[in-house]
Structures are given as structure tokens and as C-alpha cells.
């Protein structure tokens, strides 16, 4: 059971519309490693988890991902409000607009609609947690901070 709370997890306030940016950010909404995929991945995998720690963790993370999905949706919505025809044409937003207008549609930036084929749910603890790492673990950018294993001096 889910209960909706009428506030975002983090404020989304867009001053200037930017359809070009929206057409890229939309991937975080409905792309292969986007928030929709993340919530479905966690919320589906939890059913076969054998330990309460993992049932809880996947439930709680999956729920938080739904909050992230809402933030990205708000962001795309605000980036594409009150567009002029000229803005739509010149910003490369026309290919999205022709199908969805300014609707926030779960799609990858490439135009491929959200597909559950980009996630796995194997009913196996190790396979599923490894899948989560691949999809939602530390990103390449974050790995700049990687440090090698250090031995404890006790």
C-alpha cells in the first residue's frame, strides 16, 4: 500500500524553460537506468528476497525512487512550459513534441519508450543485487573518488 504526500523530496524550481535540456533529462524519467526502472526494479525484486533486511531495504529504496521519479517529472514539466513554436523547432524538441506535446512521457532520450527489458528480476538474491549495482550503483563520475583497499592497522 502506498500513501502519497503532496510535496517533493527536494525543491524543483525552474526559472527558464529549456526544451533542449528536457529532451535529455527525460531519460532519467523513463530511460534504461532512470527512476521508473529503478523503482520497478527494487519493488519487484523484493518479493523474492529471503531476508527481512533486504525486504525492508528494497521496499524503502523502491519507494524513495518513486519520489525521485516525481522530481524528474516536475523538472521536465517546468522546463517545457509555455513553449513557443520557434523554441520547439530550434531546440530539437520537435521530435518529442510531435508525439507527446508537453506531456511527460516515460521514454529514453533516444525516443525508445520505457522498457522493462532494461531491468532484471531473477528471483535470486545475488543476481538481483548485482543487477542493482550495475544499474544504480556508484556512477563513473563518482568513481573519481575511488580509493584502493587499505589494510587495518590494529
Amino acid at each position: 500500500m502506498f500513501v502519497y504526500e503532496k510535496k517533493l523530496q527536494y525543491p524543483v524550481k525552474v526559472k527558464n524553460t529549456n526544451p533542449k535540456l528536457a529532451s535529455v533529462i527525460i531519460s532519467q524519467y523513463g530511460g534504461p537506468d532512470g527512476e521508473l526502472g529503478a523503482s520497478l526494479r527494487y519493488l519487484s525484486q523484493r518479493f523474492s528476497m529471503p531476508y527481512p533486511e533486504l525486504k525492508g531495504l528494497l521496499t524503502d529504496i523502491g519507494t524513495e525512487e518513486l519520489g525521485h521519479l516525481e522530481m524528474i517529472g516536475a523538472l521536465v514539466h517546468q522546463l517545457t512550459r509555455n513553449l513557443t513554436e520557434e523554441q520547439i523547432r530550434s531546440a530539437g524538441f520537435d521530435t518529442y513534441f510531435v508525439d507527446r506535446t508537453a506531456g511527460v512521457y516515460p521514454t529514453a532520450a533516444s525516443g525508445f519508450p520505457y522498457s522493462a527489458a532494461s531491468m532484471a528480476c531473477k528471483g535470486d538474491l545475488v543476481a538481483d543485487l548485482t543487477e542493482d549495482l550495475a544499474a544504480d550503483g556508484a556512477t563513473i563520475q563518482e568513481q573519481h573518488g575511488w580509493k584502493p583497499l587499505k589494510t587495518l592497522d590494529c
Binding site: 500513501v3 533486511e53 531495504l57 556508484a138 563518482e142 573519481h144
Partner: protein, 152 residues
């Protein structure tokens, strides 16, 4: 004679966690276990940074933090408190025995209950099941969270 099992007397540095034979950076695929009662950011700092735990604050996130300045509003205050609660919730899922953090979690939950009631009195209901006898069915009132002005 067998060597007695050594009890661990030293801790990993901030940003590191324990593996069976040493410490390793947190949040990477070998998954070191975050140690009990880890150091924490303030709530506002946590919301701006995207994590409550300095140990999980990787450079990518730090770069974003440098550009972010959140306004000091009732909404942001509630968001910061709720974010800290969410972070502690996830931490406790894997560290249920950490009594110190559990106490902190409960104290934040009490703060959030009060904060939520105050916020709703001023700005309207946060859930469809909050009674609003003085304002009719206030649930529908604009702005919604994704609207322009919905985060002021």
C-alpha cells in the same frame, strides 16, 4: 595453540567501511559494510548534498553541492528533516542493532510529526487524509508540487 580471535579495536576512516581483512571505500561494488553510528551532516547540509553521511558523499555529489543554495523556508526545513529520516531509515535497514542511531531516528520522527502538523496548518494538507474542517476539501488546492510556485 590456536590464536585467540582478535576483537577489532580500531575503526575505519570516514568514507571507509569494514571488510573482513581491512577497510575499503563505501558505495562501490565490493560493498564494505558501513560501520555503526557513522558521522553525519546537518539535516540541511544532507538535503543539499544528497546524503546524510559524509562517508557516502562522493566527489560527483560534492560538485553539485557547491552550486546549490536552498532557501530557508518551512518547506525546505521539512524536506531536510524528512530526508534525514529517509537516510536513517535506509541505514537502519542494514544496521538494526545500532541503538544510538535508532534513538536519533525516533527523535527525528517526533520532530517531523510536529513539523508536519505546523506546516499543514500554514500551507494546507500534505495527504488526502488530513482533515481540513476550516478550509473545505483543501487537498485540491493549487499549486501541486510540480507546478510553478509549488516549492516556494
Amino acid at each position: 595453540m590456536e590464536k585467540p580471535i582478535q576483537t577489532q579495536t580500531c575503526a575505519c576512516a570516514p568514507g571507509m567501511g569494514a571488510l573482513p581483512n581491512g577497510c575499503a571505500s563505501l558505495a562501490f561494488p565490493y560493498i564494505p559494510m558501513q560501520e555503526n553510528n557513522p558521522i553525519r551532516f546537518s539535516r540541511t547540509e544532507a538535503l543539499q548534498t544528497g546524503t546524510l553521511f559524509p562517508g557516502l558523499d562522493l566527489p560527483f555529489k560534492a560538485a553539485i553541492q557547491a552550486q546549490t543554495q536552498l532557501p530557508n523556508t518551512a518547506l525546505v526545513e521539512l524536506m531536510a528533516l524528512d530526508f534525514a529520516i529517509k537516510e536513517l531509515n535506509l541505514y537502519l535497514d542494514t544496521h538494526a542493532g545500532d541503538q544510538e542511531v535508532l534513538q536519533l531516528y525516533w527523535s527525528y520522527l517526533n520532530l517531523a510529526k510536529e513539523g508536519r502538523e505546523k506546516y499543514e496548518k500554514m500551507y494546507g494538507p500534505l495527504t488526502s487524509t488530513t482533515p481540513t474542517p476550516e478550509n473545505g476539501y483543501a487537498w485540491l488546492k493549487d499549486p501541486w508540487p510540480w507546478d510553478v510556485g509549488g516549492n516556494d
